[in-house]
């Protein structure tokens, strides 16, 4: 591969790459605001200026203050190039750390801060703000301007998810390019010139496409903030763990940011993966973090409707085992869940095989509007994984379960998961059955009709894997500890199997996964 030299270090590059991209790949930071590896080049922030020290030098005339005489004398300065736009050339020597570059960086930083409001104490970006980080590294001087900073609109509601603050904006146009290139919706643009610059919405519109939170994610300063995350948590108290989004079958990789002091997840950020989601996530996916503490089932319950009472974990398992053993195995319906991990589903399949139950169903949400950017039409993260767990056995939809119950060929149901496409009213046929056991994370339709509902751990609390619609298996580890008494689904199923007199043959997750085949149902 061809190479060029950056600060004396040889860096190889692909033809067509820019200097900043080649450096970014090998872990060298050339300071920048407006460049983003996933967006087009704008080169308007001028922070990434570098000095090409090889080849013919271009110089610009300037006037310099001579300290001794106090007069301005003619001098020259080298013409610096923006590294984000500078195509790498074989044998080129570039410096990003010499004196002229340092002066340029300090000057750019000073200009950016010239009219910047003193908002750090109330700005959400504090702690992850590039202005703060680059100030310390590249400027380090105090303010020279004595007049009042320019004032612009603050707290402008751009849409249901985003709030804009024009004073903090450095006009890098990352948000405009995200809306154009990712969401393919030219709803943001820049207005006016000079120090009156502002980002504005297209007339008559608001920021309502499906990737609005990505504009907030790419904004290097606190100009665009998410109304959901605003003022909720300070970033330096948060820790993050990698996870996978449960919104749809694309399976975007995420960072889950949580506060270890109270065990609450505050937001998701996209985790960059060139094969799955590149650098992005959609709004619905970003908001799936709320599922972790909303409507959770934390204590097992027995009884339906008015008679629903909480019971102890051990009692719940025994009650469930009792109810299930009263059902003939050929009349037992086992419902897998496209919202649960492959491992949970696999354990349930093993239990079904041990019990001799042949009716396998799949509870899945009905689908939503997909697009050809990131969103899959299937809003279940693990349909393919559930099918893989079933190992070739056809999975019928829950609608078929209801018909089978009505016809009498199914007299007991063991269901994994809380969410299904059918509404509560549609699940009415299950209410007449006595033996309906639900292993669920949330209070939902399936758990409402269950005679015994047992809580299992949520995606953030377990180790497991999802298979996305392209057939890629994505494993993840727990982000937080599960509430006390709530176990992962596969462990609860193993305990239930033990009470039913069957040993499913695994002690831990590795043992469980040994039984996993690799065939995926062709029909999706």
């Amino acid at each position: 591969m061809p190479t060029f030299k950056l600060d004396g270090r040889e860096i190889s590059f692909e033809p067509g790459e820019t200097v900043i991209e080649a450096a970014w790949r090998v872990g060298i930071e050339i300071p920048h605001y407006c460049w983003h590896p996933g967006l087009s080049i704008a080169a308007n922030c001028r922070m990434c200026l570098v000095h090409i020290t090889s080849g013919r030098q271009m110089e610009m005339p300037q006037l310099e203050l001579d300290e001794e005489t106090g007069e301005y004398v003619p001098a020259t300065k080298p013409k610096l190039q923006p590294a984000c736009q500078l195509g790498a050339v074989e044998g080129m020597e570039v410096s990003s750390t010499n004196e002229v570059v340092k002066k340029a960086q300090a000057a750019v930083q000073e200009f950016l801060l010239l009219n910047h409001p003193v908002d750090c104490p109330i700005c959400d970006q504090a702690g992850e703000c590039k202005l703060q980080d680059y100030y310390q590294e590249h400027q380090g001087t105090l303010k020279r301007k004595l007049t009042e900073p320019v004032h612009k609109p603050k707290g402008v509601r751009f849409g249901p998810t985003i709030v804009y603050d024009a004073e903090r904006c450095i006009m890098c146009t990352r948000c405009i390019r995200v809306s154009d290139e990712l969401a393919k919706d030219h709803v943001l643009d820049m207005r006016e010139r000079g120090d009156r610059n502002e980002i504005v919405l297209a007339p008559g519109r608001e920021l309502d496409h499906k990737y609005t939170l990505m504009t907030e994610h790419v904004c290097p300063v606190g100009a665009l903030t998410s109304s959901d995350f605003r003022f909720k948590a300070r970033v330096w108290f948060l820790k993050s763990r990698p996870s996978v989004c449960t919104g749809c079958a694309t399976g975007c990789n995420t960072h889950a940011d949580y506060d270890p002091r109270n065990g609450k997840v505050y937001r998701l950020r996209p985790r960059d993966n060139p094969d799955v989601n590149e650098f992005w996530m959609c709004d619905d996916g970003m908001m799936t973090y709320t599922r972790h503490d909303t409507d959770r089932l934390l204590m097992p319950t027995a009884g339906r409707g008015e008679e629903r009472t909480p019971i102890l974990e051990g009692d719940a398992l025994e009650l469930a085992a009792e109810k299930l053993s009263n059902v003939e195995s050929s009349k037992l319906g086992v419902v897998l869940s496209a919202q649960h991990t492959t491992e949970d589903n696999l354990a349930l399949v093993k239990l079904a095989q041990a019990l001799g139950a042949e009716h396998l169903y799949l509870a899945a949400l009905g689908g939503w509007e997909g697009d050809d950017i990131l969103r899959s039409e299937d809003n279940n993260p693990n349909r393919a994984g559930a099918m893989r767990a079933a190992g070739g056995v056809a999975l019928k939809p829950v609608g078929d379960l209801l018909t089978d119950v009505q016809s009498g060929s199914v007299q007991g149901v063991l269901a994994l998961g809380a969410r299904t496409a059918e509404r509560l009213e549609e699940l009415a046929p299950l209410v007449v059955l006595d033996a309906v056991v639900s292993l669920t994370t949330h209070v939902g339709a399936l758990s409402a009709v269950a005679a015994v509902a047992i809580p299992v751990a949520d995606t953030f609390e377990i180790e497991g894997s999802f298979v996305n619609e392209k057939g890629m298996e994505q494993a993840f580890e727990p982000v937080l500890a599960a509430p006390i008494g709530v176990e992962p689904g596969w462990r609860t199923i193993a305990a239930l199997a033990g009470l039913l007199g069957h040993d499913l043959g695994f002690e831990d997750l590795q043992g469980l996964r040994r039984g996993l085949g690799t065939e995926v149902e062709a029909a999706q």
Binding site: L113, D119, C120, A126, G127, G140, L142, K143, W236
Partner: protein, 405 residues
């Protein structure tokens, strides 16, 4: 007439069988300054063996330093030798500045020297006053404390607190000297001279005081070195070591002062060394006052190290960001390990700092001068009598905060 047991031969049937008595001079005892426990094995009144048990004031200083930033260590450091807190502040500032490789402006160095010497004077007044009081001389104690309070008034005017000022900052001081600083000093210095003379007059010709202090608690020079003693304890034993003279730091090499050295290493030498040091400290303060510039910056001019002015923080974004970063992430230091030492009230106060390149200290070790002085105390006391514990222990000036940390 000889004692009765000397008349009898050994193994005689009439000899009274004795064994050493174990006596506990517990941590809660008026003579055990700063809670030290002594378990004594006594033969009559003579101390045969002594188990010194410090640690009753252990507060986890070194562990606590790892939980904050570099600047958040100042309140902890104050509470080490809490009778001379400015010396600790200065020691810590110098340690981190050595790691950063910066030097503060001259005005700041003179300021630190003067405040440090004032603290040293208060330390010696407290030690000698308490020593005298424990031997029954109440009056010099109160006179010394009266003047000590005047010094504390000056320190309160400058720093805002009488003790535990937390006034030092990395890269400077928390505030510049007040306008009346030099005038206040000029008013107090004659009083200092006067009270030292008066206290001495009361004590140095008193037969009882001399008997209890001279020839008691002897520490030889070799012992002092082997036990790691420094400061007035070592200098009383003849070790000519003062960090200000041997490894001058800040502007100490510009002053003309002497280092008093004792000969016998007994309590009396340590006591008088302290009074002499007070006189030398006053000399240093007078010279520093002459040389100290009356205007000019006190802090290093780098917002990445020193907190910007509060008025700037409220008005400009640059100062807000600098303040923010210094508070939230701490001062960025280079990776490495450094040992920096100054002359504290009791001897060589050293800070051994390990930095992992971030704003949080990785390890802070305090080399406490009175820890090693206390080890030597055991040597001084074996063979002496119980009543000698009081002046001997008082003469090493064991400050619990520094010893136990």
């Amino acid at each position: 007439m000889e004692p009765a047991d000397e008349l009898l031969e050994e193994e005689s049937a009439l000899e009274l069988q004795t064994e050493p008595m174990r006596l506990n001079m517990g941590p809660s005892h008026p003579a055990m300054h700063g809670t030290v426990r002594m378990v004594l094995d006594l033969d009559g009144e003579t101390i045969v063996n002594l188990d010194l048990q410090p640690g009753y004031l252990h507060r986890g200083f070194e562990k606590s330093c790892e939980r904050g930033t570099w600047a958040q260590v100042f309140p902890y450091v104050d509470r080490l030798n809490y009778v001379s807190p400015m010396l600790n502040n200065v020691g810590w500032s110098l340690a981190v500045e050595k790691l950063l490789g910066i030097e503060v402006p001259e005005r700041c160095q003179y300021y630190r020297v003067i405040l440090g010497e004032l603290s040293r004077i208060t330390d010696h007044f407290t030690c000698n006053g308490a020593s005298a009081m424990e031997l029954g001389a109440f009056t010099p104690f109160l006179w010394l404390l009266k003047v000590r309070d005047w010094i504390w008034d000056i320190l309160e005017k400058e720093t805002g607190a009488r003790m535990t000022h937390s006034f030092g900052r990395i890269g400077g001081m928390a505030a510049p000297p007040t306008a009346t600083f030099k005038d206040d000093l000029r008013a107090v210095i004659p009083e200092l001279h006067k009270v030292v003379k008066e206290a001495e007059i009361m004590l140095i010709r008193n037969r009882i005081f001399l008997d209890r202090m001279q020839g008691v608690g002897i520490l030889t020079k070799e012992q002092a070195l082997a036990y790691g003693c420094t400061g007035p304890v070592a200098r009383g034993s003849g070790v000519a070591y003062d960090v200000r003279k041997d490894h001058p730091y800040m502007v100490y090499d510009r002053f003309d002062f002497e280092v008093p050295i004792g000969e016998d290493g007994d309590n009396w030498d340590r006591f008088m060394v302290r009074f002499e040091e007070v006189r030398q400290s006053i000399r240093i303060i007078e010279q520093a006052m002459e040389q100290m510039p009356d205007d000019g910056p006190v802090n290093v001019d780098d917002p990445r190290i020193v907190f910007p002015e509060k008025s700037d923080v409220y008005d400009t974004i640059e100062a807000t960001i600098a303040h923010f970063k210094l508070v939230m992430e701490g001062l960025q230091t280079p990776k490495g390990e450094v040992y920096s030492f100054t002359e504290g009230g009791n001897g060589e106060l050293g800070f051994y700092i390990v930095s992992d390149g971030s704003g949080t200290p990785y390890r802070v070790r305090v080399r406490p001068p009175c820890w090693y002085n206390l080890t030597a105390c055991r040597e001084m006391l074996i063979g002496e009598m119980i009543a000698d514990i009081v002046p001997t222990f008082g003469s090493i000036n064991m400050i619990g905060g520094e010893c136990d940390r």
